[in-house]
């Protein structure tokens, strides 16, 4: 199946990546060839197969429900592009 330019624009919107028209063009070709490649899977009948969701056979372990009071706010904020005391700063969202 080919991925037309409108589809590229739609998924780039979903993925929050802005693209110029030239990029949309080349991606439409690239992505179509990749989708063609992965559609080889349609040769296989998988009606009765259960999808593999985890390669680990053991179930996930749970930890004790204890308060882990690490004070790491400053560490978390350390790499933020813009901050104000203890907050991340982003462009205005509410008028």
């Amino acid at each position: 199946m080919s991925i037309d330019k409108d589809t590229v624009k739609h998924i780039s919107k979903l993925a929050r990546i802005s693209l110029d028209d030239k990029k949309v063009d080349s991606l439409s070709k690239n992505l179509s060839s990749i989708i063609d490649f992965i559609e080889k899977l349609n040769e296989l009948n998988t009606d009765k197969i259960i999808p593999l969701t985890s390669i680990i056979e053991a179930s996930l372990s749970s930890r004790k429900d204890e308060v882990n009071n690490e004070k790491i706010r400053d560490q978390i904020l350390k790499n933020s592009p813009e901050k104000n005391e203890e907050f991340f700063v982003v462009p205005k969202v509410i008028e």
Binding site: V8, I11, I34, I35, K40, L41, L60, R63, S80
Partner: protein, 485 residues
């Protein structure tokens, strides 16, 4: 002094313990080699001054009890290192300085090693040639126009050029084994869950594993032992005892059954790869192993299913790069515009491609047709291996369908680039351990590797078989150090 940099990890560890040389001497010799090898472009960040200080401190009052006492190690720049820039080869993280350490690297430091620097890789580990790195491509010591493979290409080149005694990489679809094969070095992808993923920049979380890259099999056993551990910070880490891989290493493999899968004889495979594979079979027969023909019927569907599963997970994992909490940020009038500009400017072309494919296969109306379908095929691939491992102890295949290719050769054709990983990807889908061991040369005297695939958590058997191959292949890296300045 330079001969020190050519020694194996095991002989360096032993030499330090016996006080034949100091950690400072070793560290100086790797720093010296690294500084003369800028043409290879292996380092993104160096940590030389710090490493020298650590070495001097070690020589004054070192603890000789660790598995890696006094050893400097450069690692792939996908491992978070506390207070040292970690970029994942991306502009997006060009200013990111982690405030914490990955479990795997902290395991190395606990055993007495210290950080020499951070090595170049494909952006977010997405690539098979190291050409997608924001910090330019890495050159293979085997030739000034050759790629080292990828995504752990900087690691493979640095190791092959003796810029670091050993290194660690990560492998999502072949990113340790393929560059190891391209540079005449040993690379092992452990069983999924053997090494903690905590602190490794995530690509496709159900496939990613860290692993050792070394000059020989004995070093590989030692480094695997040092880096592996159960870790409660990684919910998919498996609590199984880490073996004494080095102590238990033996080339006595008599009676082990080795499967040869017919499906790995792919179209257009060069004769020399087929020839190498036959040689590998002869080596193992000579060591007393029993060779069996086996079938892994869904092999040809591994790559297409990988190129659904991996981008789907990547698109979800990389959603975190939004310009708010860390990493690159671009300007925008609204929040959404800021997101879109940040991600457009911060990610390179291949990463964008994969995020978009992943978004597409997970999007409403396509999820069942692509993503669920791929997970079903993944189950079939795992079933193939489960069945085979009832009758054999390991599987032998070539590591790659060709030797190292030239820079630029496959850059504009994603499918031909993806085909590089045809022999390595099935193992990641099935979560199994596999190793690439250098076994010969192609007609241009470029190294070629053989791959051994083992049962889950049976890294020891594939290490032992690799040792048997290593002893018989008599492979020697032949490089004239043309890059030295």
């Amino acid at each position: 002094m330079h001969d020190l940099a050519k020694k194996t990890l095991c002989s360096l560890v032993e030499g330090i313990k016996k006080k034949k040389f100091t950690s400072e001497e070793i560290t100086n010799s790797f720093i010296d080699n690294s500084q003369k090898a800028r043409k290879l472009n292996t380092y993104i960040t160096t940590n030389f001054d710090n490493a020298l200080e650590k070495a001097k401190n070690f020589d004054k009052k070192g603890n000789f009890e660790g598995l890696l006492s006094g050893i400097p190690i450069a690692v792939k720049d996908l491992f978070c290192t506390k207070d040292i820039k970690t970029t994942a080869g991306s502009k997006m993280l060009n200013n990111f300085i982690p405030t914490y350490e990955s479990t795997v690297t902290s395991n190395l430091w606990k055993e007495g090693a210290f950080l020499l620097g951070k090595l170049n890789c494909d952006e977010f580990a997405m690539g098979s040639s190291n050409e997608t790195s924001f910090f330019d491509n890495v050159i293979n010591p085997y030739g000034d126009k050759l790629t080292p493979g990828g995504s752990s290409g900087g690691s493979a080149s640095a190791l092959a050029a003796n810029l670091t005694p050993v290194t660690i990489g990560t492998d999502t679809g072949g990113s340790i084994r393929q560059p190891a094969s391209f540079t005449g070095t040993v690379g092992l992808k452990p069983t999924y869950g053997r090494c903690s993923r905590y602190g490794i920049v995530a690509f496709a979380s159900s496939l990613d594993q860290a692993g050792p890259m070394t000059q020989n099999v004995e070093d590989c056993a030692l480094l695997l032992e040092a880096m592996s551990s159960y870790d409660s910070k990684d919910s998919t880490s498996v609590n199984i005892k880490v073996d004494n891989y080095k102590k238990n290493l033996t080339e006595k493999v008599k009676g082990l059954k080795i499967g040869i899968p017919n499906e790995y004889r792919v179209e257009d495979m060069p004769d020399e790869i087929d020839h190498l594979w036959k040689k590998g079979i002869e080596f193992l027969k000579d060591a007393g192993a029993i060779i069996k023909d086996i079938t892994l019927p869904h092999t040809k569907y591994a790559l297409p299913s990988y190129y659904i599963v991996a981008p789907a997970e990547a698109s979800s994992n990389l959603a975190r790069y939004d310009g708010v909490k860390y990493g690159h940020r671009s300007k925008g009038d609204s929040l959404v515009e800021m997101y879109e500009n940040t991600r457009s400017e911060g990610f390179g072309d291949e990463v964008k491609r994969r995020i978009l494919i992943g978004t597409y296969v997970l999007s409403s109306g396509y999820y069942d047709a692509y993503y669920i379908k791929a997970q079903k095929v993944r189950q079939l691939i795992k079933n193939d291996f489960d069945k085979v491992f009832k009758n054999v102890d390991a599987v032998l295949t070539p590591s790659t369908p060709s030797a190292a290719f030239k820079v630029g050769d496959k850059k504009d054709d994603p499918i031909s680039m993806y085909l590089n990983d045809v022999f390595t990807v099935p193992v990641n889908l099935a979560g199994l351990p596999a190793i690439s061991v250098p076994a010969g040369y192609d007609k241009n005297r470029l190294p070629l590797g053989l791959q051994l695939i083992g049962k889950a958590f049976d890294e020891q058997t594939i290490l032992n078989l690799s040792l048997a191959i290593e002893k018989r292949a008599g492979f020697k890296r032949e490089i004239n150090e043309w890059w030295k300045q």
